[in-house]
Amino acid sequence: MSEPILQLRGVNKSFGAVQVLHDVDFTVRAGEVTALVGDNGAGKSTLVKCVAGIHPTDSGEVIFDGAPVSVTAPADAAKLGIEVVYQDLALADNLDIVQNMFLGRERGKPWLLDEADMEQAARDTLASLSVRTVTSVRMPVAALSGGQRQTVAIAKAVLWDSKVVLLDEPTAALGVAQTRQVLDLVRRLAEQGLGVVLISHNMADVFEVSDRIACLYLGRMVAQVPTKDVTHGQVVELITAGRSGDLGLQRPEAVTV
């Protein structure tokens, strides 16, 4: 077991009167895939956005690599090496793969970008991830398939010497073969020593690639356990009822949003 690279302690987040996250503790370890599961509205995406600095947290601690940090803007997270691949793919359709991968962090002078350097780095990154499905790194993203887009989005996250990559339902909109590609890619990220967080509704995916499962129930972290210690049914119970045997909340029925 490796040291935690990212830890959240007692994180709370409300949108107006609705409290979406209640005292959430969450740990991500380097070299492991941590699956983050939960029903719709459990707060998975909100948790990711808090880590990414898109939503500031109301209270709680974020500890990165052993030191407390404050993440209040996307730039803070990027500086730490936390990258997020969003469900709605944050790629600009009209730009090509290289331009998308370096968006916001272009290399070269502001008044003369170094296209050659960026193109080579993009190609090397794709090659290191054994991506073999893209015909040219100068293709506009609009011309890519869903799986290819997801691949580009993930490669974009890896490009930055990132330490933690959070993937928000990367396979939700994909077919069987494309899901396969993306799951392989997720596994490879962990093998390269990154801390990977995978949000997914698909139990088969979760059990296939994850080392650890963290389950949110109505904004509360009910369990964070090694994948090999739980069964499919237990995880489903945790997701839907917040409790499964000794795992989870002791009185889930008392919990309110």
């Binding site: 793919l89 730009l95 962090r105 502001p110 296209e115 080579q120 190609r123 869903g146």
Partner: protein, 484 residues
């Protein structure tokens, strides 16, 4: 995506044979860096079929119009050198406004006020000239003080937006107004450009920071600027531009030597940039155009440029006084074209403009200051509008209360759209505006020479625009179908 994949596999083997440089990326799946000319042409044709039309329809349209008017005009006036030079001068002002609008359109916004903003810049310039450098006297104390307050407001807004250049140029406008300067055409043109910056800062702040829809903001400003122009010039008045320099901007020509120097600099620069890029990309094993295609492009530009320069250095005067040389508007438009294209293609700012237009949320998540980008494009559009105003006022020789009103703006938007800039944002180039501007200028000029009434000219121009907009929508639909 399934259809193009098979040819791609074939392309790989061909590319490996053609370019050993591609081997360094051999482990990167079926990535291709170099293609033969035939493959590039095939890929281009496939792009056309899937809706990547770019400027092609407009270029074909321009060619068709030139042939059409040349055959229809039995007097032979249309294809005459005098008329072609005149056509360039007539269309230049509006084309420059359209070039600025491309920046705004790229972010998916619209600037309806660019026309009257240009008129306002021209009015301030002309008023300075007519009042002999005494703007305070020309405007009257109340208007002058209000104008200064607007400039101060623009400086504050630019600082809030962190557009430092906008703040600096607005401050320069304030300085020029307060300190005053004797009538000098160069300083007057600078003042007009600075007034453009002031206007752009206000528009940009309202759209990007306050968050109002650009359509409403610029519609309101369109009307307001018209009022201010009226206040400056007075009902029914006109301000004549009796100054040799201001008059020469749109009516003057380069000397024969100057024309050839322009050709050497422009065509030579184009060739140097393209060939240099080609060589270095090939050497580094990056994605590159086939060399044959690049050579054809360079050759075509050099030959066409040489022919055009030669023709324009011939005497085209119908009278005794000879008129020779390339009109000044050509280097003006070329300079703006090169500068604008460089900014959009090669700088971080330009990349971010495209990103904001393509997917604003993605741009925000990538850490781009979306507010600043969205505001900046309005400043750029207003600056281009002011430059365009200098050119069209120079052509007309005066500034009237209607300057920049009426159809000016809609023609400019039309020029950008006809050239292939998308109204939905994210797609378009500065050169689109130049091609579109040439189409509209040709329609107007040609129909005029065929002695068609204004009614016909308007209807035809409208139809051309409609056609261009429908091409845009249809090509988007094609690429949406072919994309996934």
């Amino acid at each position: 995506m399934s259809a193009p994949e098979k040819p791609d596999l074939e392309k790989k083997s061909a590319a490996q044979r053609a370019a050993p440089a591609a081997s360094r990326a051999a482990d990167f799946g079926i990535d291709t860096t170099a293609r033969t000319t035939g493959q590039a042409v095939a890929a281009y044709l496939r792009g056309l079929r899937t809706g990547e039309l770019g400027a092609l329809p407009a270029l074909l349209g321009l060619l068709a119009l030139l042939i059409l008017f040349s055959t229809l005009d039995s007097t032979g006036t249309f294809p005459s050198l005098l008329n072609i030079a005149n056509l360039l001068q007539q269309g230049a002002g509006r084309t420059i406004i359209a070039m600025g609008l491309v920046f705004v359109l790229l972010t998916g916004e619209i600037d309806l006020a660019a026309g009257t903003a240009s008129g306002l810049a021209a009015a301030v310039m002309a008023l300075h000239l007519v009042s002999g450098g005494n703007l305070l006297g020309g405007m009257g104390t109340t208007v002058f003080v209000l104008f200064l307050l607007v400039i101060v407001l623009a400086i504050v807004l630019a600082l809030l937006l962190r557009i430092w250049a906008g703040a600096a140029l607005s401050a320069l406008a304030l300085g020029l107004m307060v300190i005053g300067f004797p009538p000098n055409p160069w300083l007057q043109m600078l003042l007009a450009v600075c007034v453009g910056v002031v206007i752009g800062c206000i528009t940009g702040f309202l759209v990007a920071k306050v968050g109002m829809p650009s359509f409403v903001v610029t519609l309101a400003l369109f009307i307001s600027w018209q009022g201010i122009i009226l206040a400056l010039i007075g009902d029914g008045g006109t301000l004549g531009l009796r100054d040799p320099v201001l008059n020469a901007v749109a009516n003057g020509n380069l000397s024969t030597l100057g024309s050839w120097v322009l050709f050497v600099v422009a065509a030579g620069g184009y060739a140097a940039v393209l060939l240099n890029r080609q060589v270095s990309r090939r050497r580094l094993g990056l994605v590159a155009q086939p060399t044959g295609l690049v050579l054809i492009k360079v050759g075509a530009v050099v030959v066409l440029g040489a022919v055009a320069t030669f023709l324009l250095t011939l005497d085209r005067s119908p009278g005794d006084l000879p008129i020779t040389g390339v009109p000044f508007v050509v280097p003006i438009v070329l300079t703006l074209l090169v500068a604008g294209t460089f900014v959009l293609d090669r700088t971080r700012f330009g990349r971010h403009v495209y990103a904001v237009g393509g997917n604003r949320e993605a741009a925000r998540r990538a850490g781009i200051d979306v507010v600043r980008i969205r505001a900046s494009v309005f400043v750029i559009a207003s600056v281009f509008a002011a430059i365009g105003a200098i050119v069209y006022s120079s052509k007309v020789g005066s500034v009237s209360p209607g300057a920049g009103g009426g159809n000016t703006l809609l023609f400019a938007v039309g020029a950008a759209v006809i050239g292939g800039t998308s109204l939905f944002g994210g797609r378009g180039r500065i050169s689109n505006a130049v091609i579109g501007g040439a189409v509209l200028a040709t329609v107007e000029n040609g129909l005029g020479l065929l002695r068609q009434p204004a009614a016909v000219v308007f209807v035809v121009t409208g139809l051309v625009l409609l056609l261009a907009a429908s091409v845009d929508v249809l090509s988007r639909r094609r690429s949406a179908v072919a994309g996934r």
